[in-house]
């Protein structure tokens, strides 16, 4: 079989409409940025799913390690005083 060098992987982000953030929707293979954009348009926006596309080489993404999940995120767990419901406001004060 005819094997070629691996075509790079890209992550695709789509903005559904103005006012919303670009959101990760999947990935695809493409040789360069132009082809990645074209492929993203064909693969991920066949039904008007967006009005703007970002493509980013997957290799450029720096991700936190799942092994560090507890060290990174557990400390926020007991900081209930960061939430509005931690504070008691009498009902007759009204909505705050």
């Amino acid at each position: 079989m005819n094997t070629t060098a691996q075509t790079p992987l890209w992550e695709v982000f789509i903005r559904p409409r103005n006012g919303l953030a670009h959101r990760h929707c999947g990935s695809l293979h493409a040789a360069d940025a132009t082809l990645a954009l074209q492929a993203a348009r064909d693969v991920y926006t066949r039904r008007e799913e967006g009005n703007s596309i970002w493509v980013i080489p997957s290799s450029q993404i720096v991700a936190s390690d799942p092994q560090d999940k507890e060290a990174l995120f557990d400390p926020a767990g007991d900081k209930i005083y960061r939430h509005p419901t931690f504070y008691d406001i009498p009902d007759d004060v009204g909505h705050m």
């Binding site: 070629t4 992987l9 990935s27 040789a31 066949r46 092994q67």
Partner: protein, 333 residues
């Protein structure tokens, strides 16, 4: 169902019982597993195989319908068929991407499809001999696919579940356009109605086989159920499909080609369901093992596409390389 071939070897793991128990606890708590999370090797391998087979099925599944695009009788039908086949290509790509998050490359998966090592759904190894087959495939084959894919949206592996949500959103039009096509044939001339009946006769049994072997013969089912990869058994899904589809056939005025098909009040915990005739599993295994009417043609078509596309992939990569070099030189000044 697109992973019907999933019942060969037993997978072994070297993981400690504590590790496996902790993993199972996450699954039991309905947590999603994401790409870099620790997972048992057998879980990873099962998913690579299942998602890979599913992706291959979408891609090979483009071929039987592509066969009729140029001969669609109206522009309306042609645009629908084109859009459907394009969607199936998209489904294949979403699924390949999901499989790749587990550490297998696209090239490797393609190689396994072309060498025959990886399987795809047996349904795509039957020929599409008449225009009515476009109706029967949308109605029955996509209908069966939907039955199977909806529960996969809740699969424990995040990227697979997310891909399936996208796929399911797109599938509904596939089934509806097929059924609509059947309606027009059934309301047409007697010859058109005969065509529709003939298509139902040929696609009915292969569609039931899409759900895979009976539960007793399906070795992987228990483990896949425990891992929440598979939420219903093959037989449960098959029954659901039959119960939903018989009414639709009656509405068309067509006869389901099963003399043993009979309503049984007691089925489905008293809610009623159809008893149905014996499925020819020998025929199923023959097709899965590569001896269906179209196995050779399907792989030949995919091999040709891969080989004839090689120069495009190479040229695109060479151009990208050159551009990178160019930009680097300009930056130097």
């Amino acid at each position: 169902m697109y992973s019907q071939g999933l019942n060969d070897k037993n997978l072994e793991t070297a993981e400690t019982p504590e590790f496996l128990a902790a993993f199972q606890a996450r699954i039991d708590a309905d947590e999603k597993i994401e790409p870099n999370d620790p997972m048992p090797e057998a879980y990873r391998k099962t998913l690579i195989r299942q998602i890979g087979q599913h992706a291959h099925s979408e891609i090979v599944g483009m071929l039987p319908e592509a066969n009729w695009i140029t001969r669609a009788p109206t522009l309306r039908r042609k645009t629908a068929l084109l859009a459907k086949v394009q969607d199936e290509g998209g489904h294949g790509l979403y699924l390949y991407s999901a499989a790749e998050t587990l550490g297998v490359s696209r090239e490797q998966m393609t190689e396994e499809l072309l060498s025959g090592k990886a399987k795809y759904s047996s349904i795509f190894n039957y020929p599409t001999v008449s225009w009515a087959d476009m109706g029967a495939i949308g109605w029955l084959v996509d209908g069966a696919a939907i039955m199977n894919q909806v529960p996969l949206c809740r699969c424990s592996y995040g990227p697979y579940a997310r891909a399936m949500i996208r796929v399911c959103k797109e599938e509904s039009f596939h089934q509806r356009q097929g059924y609509e096509l059947m309606i027009s044939l059934c309301m047409g001339a007697p010859a058109q109605k005969d065509m529709a009946q003939d298509a139902l006769n040929r696609w009915w049994w292969p569609s039931l086989m899409m759900f895979g072997p009976p539960d007793g013969d399906s070795l992987h089912s228990d483990q896949s159920a425990a891992w929440k990869i598979k939420r219903f058994t093959n037989d449960e899904l098959r029954q659901k499909f039959i119960d939903a589809t018989v009414k639709q056939a009656e509405h068309l005025g067509l006869t389901v080609p099963d003399p043993d098909l009979v309503w049984n009040e007691a089925k489905n915990n008293g809610n009623g369901g159809y008893d149905f005739g014996e499925i020819d599993w020998n025929d199923f295994w023959k097709v899965v093992k590569g001896h269906g009417p179209m196995n050779k043609d399907r792989i030949a078509a995919r091999t040709r596409a891969w080989e004839e596309g090689a120069w495009v992939r190479e040229a695109a990569l060479a151009y990208a390389e050159k551009q990178k070099h160019h930009t680097a030189q300009q930056a130097q000044g």
